[in-house]
Symmetry: C2
Subunit: 239 residues, 2 copies
Amino acid sequence: MAKYKEVAEAIKKRIKEGIYAVEERLPDQHSLAEEFETSRVTIKKALDILTAQGLVYTIQGSGTYVKKNALHHSQSSIQIGNNVGLTTTVRDELDLESKVLEFKVRFPDEQEQEVLMIHEETPVYHYERLRILDGKPYSLEHTVVPVAIIPGITKKVLQDSVYKYIREELGIVFGENRQTVRAAQPNALDKEYLGCKETDPILEVEKVMFLESGAPFEYSVVHHRFDMVEMSFLNQEFK
Amino acid sequence: MAKYKEVAEAIKKRIKEGIYAVEERLPDQHSLAEEFETSRVTIKKALDILTAQGLVYTIQGSGTYVKKNALHHSQSSIQIGNNVGLTTTVRDELDLESKVLEFKVRFPDEQEQEVLMIHEETPVYHYERLRILDGKPYSLEHTVVPVAIIPGITKKVLQDSVYKYIREELGIVFGENRQTVRAAQPNALDKEYLGCKETDPILEVEKVMFLESGAPFEYSVVHHRFDMVEMSFLNQEFK
DNA sequence: CAGTGGTCTAGACCACGCA
DNA sequence: GCGTGGTCTAGACCACTGA
């Protein structure tokens, strides 16, 4: 792993453990460079990552500070800025339960072939999960994954965490992901499983996940109850 | 302006003008560094910006290429990655009309005081606009702006573009912005102006814009018809 | 004015793609 | 193996903050 990512992870860990307290100033970049036995440019790059993730902020001429919201993100808010590829987020895992509604293997349709960049006869896993947060129906996930890229998915994996399985069991590193968000009217499944009334909108999130190599490995469409989820993101000035 | 931003602007301009054609390879970083009389690190940083904006992509060992969607973003899709602070986006301005429904000056309520970081007795502009795209109602905007930071707003400015006024007339440079997206049920205004039925959801976007200095200068809540807008964004691996 | 972050350079080494 | 991009260094200069 690149040094600047390692440094970013290390500093993130310290924030999580309270070694660098909220609203406090971090050591200056020169000191950090000495400590991590690297150059200031590399430290800067690591801090840029943490800034993009909303953990710290800098004031030129003054220092780098831990953001006061670094430790407690809103429970029902999905933070877009958090990079799923960098092992852990600061936020603790929520009490999220999964009920597998469907799990099968089939061939992809045309749209799936296109977004996953695969051929007509490439087998894919297809699963639908109802996600339950603190005992309340939270979202309905529809997911398609090529078998060849992520082999060995089982019902047990689906009940736990697919991403954890990919990262920890298969040792695969995530790359970027592309998401599209829209509002939509509830369909029959949403009414049945999420308890939506005719006038209860859903927040639909369509997502394509890529490996570090650039190959797409997951296509999903998730329906959220409108009153349980919002998505927020920071649009940054490039520095 | 920092050199890497200037280089990013220059290359963006070339893409826009077709000097670097779609799906074609850009000159290598070494050549670009020579041409712009700068170092390769600076070129790399400029290209990182364009990558984040979705204009180019790189393949290690091969080169940097212009994305095929660089010139035509989907009409009804709001691209989150595009940085509003860098003068122009490649996409041309759409035929977007504005009808001012309300325009007044008042004192801010508690929530506005907090997000805009101002006091109880700081005057703010408050305006509501109906945005019309190609003759069809598109969105309802509710906006609050401190008078002291962005003076001289008029109905004429509101009918044109407020951002254009801020950038070109006041010479103010934008910084980052924070957005939150959720699905919601239509309210009375949505039904009246956007023509929403009881079962037509809206996509609500709450936004706080910041100046380059870090001071917030605009708080807005925008309601979009669910069938006219979707938001997409690329979540990048930090490189 | 000292301390801190923002930017930039010139050169180096490595990993990857492609012929 | 050569050309490409990805990363890193050591040092420099500037802009800004705050005493």
